[in-house]
Every structure is written in C-alpha cells, then in structure tokens.
C-alpha cells in the first residue's frame, strides 16, 4: 500500500467518527480499501455493500430521516448511476456526503473509463452537488472536513473527488 493511501484514509476515518457518521455505504473501489477496513473494524460504524451506487442516495435520506448520518463511497463511474437519485437531496434539502475515487483522468490506461470520468464534475454540479477536488493526499482530509461540514451543516449534497494523482493509476499491461 502507498504511504499516502494510509495517511488520507486514517485522516478521513477520524473525520467520519468526528462527524457522527454511523453508516458507510459503498460499491467499493481499490482506493477505498483501507478506509473501508478501518470502518468495518469499528463497532460504531456499519458498512453496507450496495448493488448499485444510487441506492446509497436513498439509504442516506432514510438514515437522515431517522436521525443518523451516512457517507457514500464509490468509484467515479458510480456517479453516472446516481444522477436521477441526486434529485432527492436537492428537493428534500437533506445532507448527502460522497467520497469519490476518480478514474478516467489524464493518466487513465482504460479508455472505457474516460467518458464518465470526464463527466463527473459537470454532472455533479448540474445536480447541485458541491465538489471538492483533492490533488494531493494531504488535501483529502482537509477537503473532507469542509465537505462534511457543508453537507450536514447546510443540509445539502457535497462530494470529495480524490484524483488519480493521489490514488495512482491502475495498469492493464500484459
């Protein structure tokens, strides 16, 4: 594991606890492995595996209605599955906090990831989601704190996008 993955994951996990987040819903991605392991090891955090990412938007609304807090973690391709669901936080004025590991950026080696990767930020902004883009490992926790404060404090949708400059690039060389 890259040292940077260890540092940002540990920082975000601490912020999950600080913000009283008791449920983490995910369709996992490689870059999320350590954070999800930390969450699973904590008796106060329930990790829910989804069949598709948009379920996490509904799950988050139900959790909030019941006075809980949820974090939705996914790879950037999952944002495409969430578009219609993002009407929920917009129209109900409820929190929706997302942590997104990016694919399809400049160094991507799988061209099938590129169209959605390029569309992530325009799509999120079109659906009224505040975006926080982390380009270094140190920025992830700082931006997560800002996004969580915005999401739960102002009851709106916010996403932290972790760039491939932080995560590294997946290779498919033979």
């Amino acid at each position: 594991m890259r040292a940077s993955a260890e540092s940002w994951s540990d920082h975000v996990f601490q912020l999950v606890k600080d913000h009283g987040i008791s449920t983490v819903a995910t369709v996992p991605d490689a870059g999320l492995t350590r954070l999800l392991e930390l969450c699973r090891a904590d008796a106060g955090v329930r990790v829910i595996t989804l069949s598709s990412e948009e379920e996490g938007i509904g799950l988050g609304l139900g959790t909030w209605l019941g006075h809980g807090r949820l974090l939705l973690c996914m790879q950037s391709s999952g944002i495409g599955n969430c578009i219609n669901a993002l009407a929920l936080p917009a129209v109900t004025r409820t929190p929706c906090l997302m942590l997104v590991t990016m694919r399809g950026e400049a160094d991507e080696t799988n061209p099938w990831q590129v169209p959605m990767g390029r569309a992530v930020r325009p799509v999120l902004e079109a659906m009224n989601v505040a975006c926080f883009e982390a380009r270094t490992a140190d920025q992830v926790g700082v931006l997560f704190e800002q996004a969580a404060t915005l999401a739960f404090g102002e009851a709106r949708a916010a996403a932290v996008l972790i760039g491939q400059s932080v995560l590294g690039v997946k290779r498919f060389d033979e």
Partner: protein
C-alpha cells in the same frame, strides 16, 4: 387464486385496511399511485411520500429501518418502482433488518404513464426474488381472503418481509400529498425527534 381481471384487489381499500393496523409504524411510499393511496388512507408526519427518484423507496426504507431499529418501517410501492430498484432487495437481504416490510401493489402495469404492460404481467415474481435474496418471508396475495394475512405479515412477523398484492388496474380519485420535499422530510424528521 382467481382469474385475471374482475376479482382483483382494490388498491385504495387494501392500503386503508392494512394501514388501520400500522400502530407506530413509519411508512415510505414510492412515487405515483402508492403515494396517493397512502395519502388517501390518512396523512400523518409518520408518512414520507416520494414524487420522484423511481427505484429508491426500498433503500430509503432500509436507511430508516436501520436508524430506527425499535420501530416498524413499511415501504408501500408499485411493481415497476420495485423492479427498477430490485438490486436493493439483495442489499436488504444481506443487512436483514428485522423491522422492515415492503408491500408491492402489483397491477402488472405502468399505471401512471398510460397503463402500459409491466414485466410482472409476464410472470416475473417479486416475492420469489425477495426469498432468493434472503428475506425472512415473502408472499403473494391475490384476493380478499389471502389479503387478511397482510397486517400480521407486514407489522408483526420478523423482517425483512415482502408482500406482493395483485391489484386491479383502476383510476382512483385524486389524493395528492404536498410536493414540497423539504416540508415532507422536515416534518417527518422533526416528528421523530419529538418521539425520542
């Protein structure tokens, strides 16, 4: 089991009859006719109605059930809405909330958009899907005698449970809840805060 058509259950009567047994249950209704049925049966802050986000009624119910484990949560939705979010049955089966129930009002049609034929008209079986996903119980009721079991299944039996009610394709009197999502979510949440 009756032939398709004349003997099918009336959705408005069925929902009102079932909800008479709700007690302290929280109820989430999927978009379209199930939301109108729930509103027609009696509005309360313990109801949450959807006007969009097709496919997400069950995940909302799951989030609520896990956050409020001491209270029963019922999702009332249509066959098309449930099928659009059918993957959530797997998530619910895996999480196994004992307090979550789903009632699918199945008219085998997309009633809200012009009564186009739905997938359950071809025998697609939502109760069998729920059983395969690990639900504690899942049943299909087709007439008033069978429907008498619904209150016990939906409000008393250990969850997660799913019941499919085969209903008639009808045009019912308009019964529309507020479209203000912030109002619907705010009053629901505040009401629960008072209940704590």
């Amino acid at each position: 089991m009756n032939n398709a058509g004349s003997q099918r259950l009336s959705r408005r009567e069925l929902v009102a009859d079932v909800l008479a047994w709700r007690g302290a249950a929280l109820v989430v209704a999927g978009l379209g006719s199930p939301a109108w049925d729930l509103f027609a049966a009696g509005d309360t802050p313990e109801n949450f109605y959807l006007w969009g986000a097709m496919g997400l009624a069950a995940p909302i119910g799951l989030g609520l059930a896990l956050a409020r484990p001491e209270q029963r949560v019922l999702v009332v939705t249509g066959d098309g809405e449930m099928l659009m979010g059918v993957g959530s049955l797997a998530v619910i089966g895996a999480e196994a909330p004992g307090n979550l129930s789903i009632l699918v009002l199945d008219n085998e049609s997309f009633a809200e958009t012009g009564a186009q034929r739905g997938l359950t008209a071809s025998g697609v079986d939502l109760a069998a899907m729920a059983r395969a996903d690990g639900f504690a119980d899942a049943v299909t009721v087709r007439d008033e005698v069978e429907a008498q079991a619904l209150p016990e299944i939906l409000f008393k039996a250990p969850g997660p449970v799913l019941a499919v009610a085969k209903i008639a394709l009808t045009q019912d009197a308009p019964a529309y809840p507020s479209k203000d999502g912030a109002y619907l979510a705010g009053r629901f949440r505040e009401n629960l805060a008072g209940a704590r």
